[in-house]
Amino acid sequence: MSYVLLAPEILLTVLALAVILIGLLVSDKSKNILGYISAAGLAASLILTIAKTGEGSFFYNAIVVDPLSQIFKIIFLVVSLIAVIASIHYFKDNRNQDEYYTLILLATVGMMVVASANDLLALFVGFELASMSTYVLAGFEKKNPASLEAALKYFIIGSLSSALMLFGMSLVYGVSGSTNISEILTYFKTAQVSGLDILAMVFLVAGFGFKMALVPFHMWAPDTYEGSPTVVSSLLAAGSKKMGFVAAFRVLVLAMVAVRADIQIVFAILAVITMTYGNVVAISQKSIKRMLAYSSIAQAGYISLAFVVMTQMSIAGGVLLALGHAFMKGGAFIAVAVVGYMVLSDNKNTKNTDDISNFAGLGKRAPITALSLFVFFLALAGIPPSAGFIGKFVLFYSVTIQAVSTASTWLLVIVIIAILNSALSIYYYARVIRYMYVLPPVGEKIHEPLPYVIAMLLAVIGTIGIGLYPEPVINMAMNAASVLGV
């Protein structure tokens, strides 16, 4: 058993501690270097993750390294990398950069632990590590009431969800007698399903649903995404959201194999409500960050279709869409950050930096940003060739064939609702696109800061690259789904 497989996590943990140490040593002015260090560390960790081939389990089978954890770790690392690169500019004058980068790195480690968790305890610890780091990150602009409010709401609902999740875990432990997920599965496969099991499931769904931002556990998300520093929103929407999914894949999928149909209906209802609610409310938003938040909710609805069908294909589709969403949504928030920077450089006292009116003529003022945002939006709307399309393609495919092969009317209805939603979402994406390219600019052309550009281009490359050559990621996703053995 070689701990080499855990090298990315170890590297990041060490780096997190190192960053805070270096922060003590260097002057405030040269703290910028920490951003580069973190980015380099994340990149190294990403390369290690992609490069490693083996599988293994550690710490009494509490941590496993398998294709599922692998692809989600890639998602988390990519999102963090994008966020960190963008932060180099976003927080360049901040005295507390050392704390900031440490927290981001720790959050990433937490998410990675969740991805690898094969024990409820490890899952819980990872979950909390990531959550608590992001609570702080959300409120990182200490003087900004919106940021603090975002953090508070995030914290309260997050803690509530942790409590629900923990309560659910305690029940699962109670009925199955183990905290190890594999053993729990064995139990569920053989045992008669009792009311307590269902109760436990519901609590777990609620706990994970908070991270996934499924309606009705989504309430915090728009406020938090809107209020947090934009780069942190990027991390939250694109990264920590996926933590809920990987946890759900790990725990719920297994459990649902046992209880099958009933809880599927729960997810069907959640998915339909979530995507419809997200899209419908996104239409009337003025704040782009808030609109993106609702769009994230809608995307979560699509991804949770994977739980409705529960086939290897559907889970692969969910994973693919999660991966795609990491690039698209992460990139989109960074682009919004550029606009915020642009607006503030116009006028320091602007309140609503992410108001849609600030996007007017963006195509002329900040061409790279506008083009990137255009790509992200089309990808989010599911227009090919993009990662968003590939994800939806596989996902909708899996639902359709399930509907056809089981002659299931309600699945058909669900997939039709999903495509109508997908079409509806074009409305609000196109609205922003219109602002960017059709309306006249409201200011001068700006110089787009290099870190942002690099971050966005990374996301664009990911988005388009997966769309143009999805073969490797499809294989990865299929392998990941096969781990679950459904």
Binding site: L378, F389, V404, I419, Y437
Partner: protein
Amino acid sequence: MTAYISLMIAIPLIGAILAFLTKTRQQARAVALVSSGISLLISIIMLSRFDSSLAGIQLDEIHSWIPSLGITLSFGVDGIGMPLVLLSCIVIPLTVIFAWGETKEPNKFYGLILLELVGVLGVFTSLDFFVFYIFWEIVLIPMYFLISIWGGPRKDYAAIKFFIYTHIASLVMLLAIFALYFNAWQITRTPDFNMFHLLKNYSLLDGWLITNVISIKDAIFIGLLFGFIVKMPAVPFHTWLPDAHVEAPTAGSVILAALLLKMGGYGLFRVILPLLPFSDSPGKMITLMAIIGVLSILYGTFLALAQRDLKKMVAYSSISHMGYVTLGAAALVPLSVSGAMFQQFSHGLITCVLFMSCGVIQHSAGTRIIGDLGGIAKYMPKLTFVMLAGFLASLGLPGMSGFIAELLVLLNSYANLPTFVILALFGIVFTAGYHLWAMQRAVFGTFNEKLGHIHDGANYEIASMAVLVLLIIFFGLYPNPVLNMMTTTATPLVRDAAGLVGVIV
């Protein structure tokens, strides 16, 4: 294996990127003209290499892409695709020439036009359903921009309506494609998105989607049909079209009507016809298509008659003309099907002239409302000449390409769909009616002095229209270069359907 098609698609794509990067309008339009011109050249070479006596796919090429899903980049043309490829490569350079004077963001304008060419060429040549779908969707985006940047006063409404409406249809079609793919996978257990393989396996499907309500076969069929007829567009799914046309800039309208609508018809021939004989109730499906076709013909005609805006009238005339495509396809006779294919080709040419005329009038007189015009022939003799030719072609004057198409459809559809042909014949008088009525009020008569000083179309505008008119007349007198290959392809396509004549309602 040849590489004509990928070259033909790649060059405008590169051209589009270059055009976006250009700084001046001279550079942009030169790039657009050269790259679309090269595509035209390639398509002509393809035409010369194309053997009209062979029914199958020719000039095909295949590149692997996503093996895990069985997706390949495979392209090829046959009698269905080749004429439309040619049409696209003719229309785009002429549109560029017509829009030679564009001054508003010319680099984007020409770039988007080239992107449209990429999209439609992809649709007309892909032989893989996945790739087909991708191009099918890509086409929407440049058109969205063409409408919403260069469009008229209600451009936002029109652009988004166009986008969402047709996107929904595409997604429904995608679901049906999923089902086909899954079906083929169940049989062969190898992932494969090849269009022909999927279509071939359709006949092996069975079972209910909703028990005793709709069978899987019928559901797939209707899903695909829906995807295509919205694009065509057919009544009652047509209302996006008039809005889009009214608001779109002339070049956008030209591309929309001449090329994008043809994608729907292309789908009918490429996808629907091979499936039709094997659907669970072919008789009902044929009747459905025939009803849609005739309804579009008549409804489009009457709505055109009701319009006050010249361009909207032309838009409705497109709906009416595309009805012949559906009708001819539904009749399942080799010559009616090739007539319908020819209608696609012919309407592509004719409608360009009509929309370009509207554009010139709008530009010169500042209005397209028929009642506000009047007597403009006096100051716009050149325009009047080509416009009249276009209108006459559109109303089906013999000697012009539209006549041959409609004649073939009517003559050959009657055997299977007598009632529908009789109904369609009724439309002919009214078709002539709205064309001539509009001409009479807008172009002829006494000059409306309120229009002030108006001038004739620019030479480049008139020239591109004149080329189209010449092509319309050429194909009206000698349709064989494209009609032969259409007939060759159509014959095996409907041979399977011969036994269905008995079940047609």
